[in-house]
């Protein structure tokens, strides 16, 4: 009980006179706030990218591509194979036959608003069934395009990102003038970074036969993928493979997500080392300026443990303040911040929003606690170990 009382007494005394050592204490707070800001911001970037791609996939949808292809960009399925694929079992039905749509995924060089430099804008040639299969797509401005016409609709993020992607404007691609007639949302999925047009019109413009990149299908239920896959495999005419949409998009996200995550951790660790040095410095000087005070306490009968703990608590308190500030900065500046990059599997531009989740904030606070503990440990031991008489003589 006595020890606890001592701990409380010394700790409170330390914390109360932090304001008088404000300048030095700021070093810990700012240093750790910096680490936490960077860590949370970079992880939020990775998280946002991952969420955009993973949010696109639905377990009851699947993508049929040429065997060997890992992305729509490198795949090709002929229209005649498409007609065979539609007849396979396991697919959901609608009024106009099985819920399958051949889509052509291409890119076009369009200038970005941000840097006026040309970037790969993804264009998806879709069929009427595409809208039934991807029923999360909602027109939010203007109207849908009419099949058979050189009209296009753009995802809201594509419109934000590229020059001239505005409702009512005309976009000139490969010698054809496309009228942009509407904008759509799709629950924040990757399709919002795309421009959609009629598949038939797109192939006529591309002059490359009437094939597809891939077919997207809606399964009767998520459990029907195996039936569908089996029947595709059994058909000797087909050289295709099918992948569940959730898996397709989560595989596409792994490369960049892990790159950003690794980069984030790498840089944060280096910075954390720097911040710990700063914290150690501060705590050592806090301890050394108080050496007489600590020695006096020891002479009065306070044990070494309360001294150690009080210094640790001080370091910890300062770092948690730093961690909270860092988390707050990351959240205010970056939550919902929209950025774009080039996907490494389709080479096309993907827009995504940073997502600063509670879990990431918590991770930031945990980091700040660890840094505070490390920063406080050695100085606190040094404080408790210094010989009382020598310290008092320093008076």
């Amino acid at each position: 009980m006595n020890t606890i009382n001592q701990i409380i007494a010394i700790t409170l005394m330390n914390l109360r006179n932090i304001p008088s050592r404000f300048g030095a204490s700021l070093v810990i707070i700012v240093g750790i706030a910096g680490v936490v800001t960077v860590l949370v911001a970079l992880l939020a970037m990775a998280k946002g990218f991952e969420a955009t791609l993973k949010g696109t996939g639905q377990p009851d949808r699947a993508i049929v591509m040429r065997s060997g292809s890992t992305s729509e960009m490198t795949s090709g399925v002929s229209a005649s194979h498409g007609r065979i694929i539609e007849t396979k079992p396991g697919l959901a039905d609608s009024n106009n036959g099985a819920l399958a749509a051949g889509e052509l995924y291409v890119i076009a060089d369009i200038r970005k608003r941000a840097n006026n430099s040309e970037a790969n804008m993804p264009m998806r040639g879709v069929q009427p069934n595409s809208f039934l299969i991807r029923d999360e797509v909602k027109i939010v401005a203007g109207r849908n395009f009419e099949f058979g016409r050189f009209e296009m609709i753009a995802g809201v993020k594509a419109a934000d990102q590229f020059h001239g992607i505005d409702v009512g404007s005309t976009v000139s691609i490969r010698g054809a003038d496309w009228k942009l007639v509407g904008l759509f949302e799709s629950n924040g999925s990757i399709h919002e970074s795309e421009v959609w047009v009629d598949h038939a019109v797109l192939v006529s413009n591309l002059k490359r036969g009437n094939g597809y990149s891939s077919m997207v299908v809606r399964l009767l239920s998520p459990l029907d993928l195996d039936v569908f896959r089996q029947s595709l495999g059994d058909d000797p005419q087909l050289e295709v493979s099918v992948v569940r949409e959730t898996k397709y998009y989560s595989e596409q996200s792994t490369g960049i997500t892990s790159l950003i995550t690794q980069f984030g951790y790498g840089v944060s660790i280096i910075m954390a080392i720097g911040a710990v040095f700063g914290a150690l410095n501060t705590m050592y000087s806090a301890v050394s300026t108080r050496s007489v005070e600590i020695a006096t306490l020891r002479a009065l009968g306070f044990g070494p443990t309360p001294v150690v703990i009080s210094v640790m608590v001080e370091a910890l308190a300062l770092s948690i303040i730093g961690g909270l500030i860092g988390g707050l900065i990351a959240w205010t500046l970056f939550n919902g911040y929209t950025a774009s990059t080039m996907s490494n599997s389709t080479f096309s531009q993907v827009s995504f929003s940073f997502s600063v989740t509670g879990e990431l904030l918590l991770r930031g606070i945990v980091w700040s606690c660890m840094l505070g503990l490390i920063g406080g440990l050695f100085p606190s031991v040094a404080a408790a170990r210094q010989p009382v008489t020598a310290a008092l003589r320093g008076l």
Partner: protein, 382 residues
């Protein structure tokens, strides 16, 4: 340096603090070196551009191709020395994670890209072996490939006539010249690629033109584009540097965000370190007064204090930059689009300048104070 003893003793005064300060500066400049180089790579493209090379690309997108007979027409333009073409081959080697670029290239490609250095006998083997392939040394080491090995590639864009995996014979391993793109690439023969590809005529992804006079680049580029304007396959010709920059810019915001967050933080670390360093000088005011008492002039006081902070700053900063520089190749290898990443001399000089500035800015207020120090007041305060 007759004052070096004084500076050392100032550092030894509180060794723990000095070491910690040095390490913080070290870390800050390590970060600076890494991030400036990465940011440079993002904004400029890998440091890999022959001033005398033009890249002809399809006008509307990288997914289109250029008809091969364009090379013959382009050859007629005066000022062109060599011409080659390449097509993205892609495919999957071993598994999806073993990614490195694979290009089908024409015979004269390696004559233009002399930065890929291949022993003559291996070059001859590549040019004469239909199924030949060459890879960079880093790829050969990473996947333990040696000359004579078969390299199977599962096609993605380009199925072959047998609808199976492509198989290549490794006939050469090249090194990339220093200061070039890095060697994480594989080349195969365009002729074999075209013969065995299911679609036959693959066209070219790019035509590469080597010109004799870099100053004529703009004229030749516009002549090429005019030649094919209004055809069904229009072209877009740029210098290789611009081409690489456009590609790098597509990585876009990620590079920008990373570097801007981190440079803000870099300056925060410096600010904090500067604070500690200034504090170290303040504590020594009485000692400085004693130095003055025993006859040090005002100017030498200014010099001693400044020299001390500049010294600490360089002592921490230079190794930081050095370690960052040593980490570059590893970083470049682990991230495919950063291959060939390196710290340019400009970045190194920026870093050194920054270290000097840090030393001066942090030291100057204390140095001026030391210079103006009134001996009597200073001694009385102690």
């Amino acid at each position: 340096m007759k004052y070096s003893g004084l500076i050392w003793s100032a550092l030894y005064r509180k060794p723990i603090r000095s070491v910690l300060t040095l390490l913080s500066i070290f870390v800050a400049f390590l970060l600076f070196g890494l991030l400036q180089s990465v940011s440079f790579a993002f904004s400029q493209g890998a440091n890999f551009s022959g001033v005398n090379r033009l890249i002809v690309s399809p006008k509307y997108s990288i997914i289109d191709s250029i008809p091969l007979n364009y090379t013959n027409q382009i050859r007629g333009i005066p000022g062109i020395e060599k011409i080659a073409h390449q097509q993205w081959f892609g495919g999957i080697f071993r598994d999806n994670r073993s990614f490195f670029p694979r290009w089908a290239v024409s015979k004269d490609y390696l004559e233009i890209y002399t930065e890929f250095m291949l022993p003559q006998d291996q070059l001859d083997a590549f040019l004469t072996t239909r199924t030949g392939a060459v890879v960079g040394r880093s790829i050969a080491e990473q996947y333990q490939l040696k000359i004579g090995d078969k390299i199977p590639i599962i096609p993605d864009i380009w199925p072959n006539k047998d609808n199976g995996p492509w198989e290549f014979d490794l006939v050469g391993i090249f090194d990339a010249k220093k200061d070039s793109v890095g060697d994480g690439i594989m080349f195969i023969n365009y002729v074999f690629f075209e013969e065995y590809s299911l679609f036959g005529e693959g066209g070219a992804g790019n035509i590469i033109v080597q010109i004799s006079d870099p100053d004529a680049a703009a004229r030749i580029a516009s002549e090429i584009d005019t030649m094919f304007a209004n055809s069904s396959d229009e072209t877009k010709t740029t210098s290789e540097k611009v081409y690489n920059q456009m590609f790098a810019k597509q990585m876009g915001d990620i590079g920008f965000i990373m570097t801007s967050i981190l440079s803000a933080v870099f300056f925060t670390i410096l600010l904090l370190t500067g604070n500690t360093m200034a504090q170290a000088v303040r504590e020594r005011i009485p000692e400085l007064a004693i130095l003055k008492t025993i006859g040090f002039s005002n100017l030498s006081m200014l010099f001693i204090v400044l020299a001390e902070s500049v010294f600490i700053s360089l002592l921490g900063g230079l190794p930081g930059l050095g370690v960052a520089r040593m980490m570059m190749p590893g970083l470049g290898e682990s991230v495919s689009f950063l291959s060939g990443l390196e710290m340019t001399p400009e970045i190194f000089i920026q870093g050194v300048t920054l270290a000097l500035l840090l030393g001066i800015i942090v030291g100057l207020p204390s140095a001026i104070r030391a210079m103006r120090l009134n001996i009597v007041d200073a001694l009385r305060d102690s």
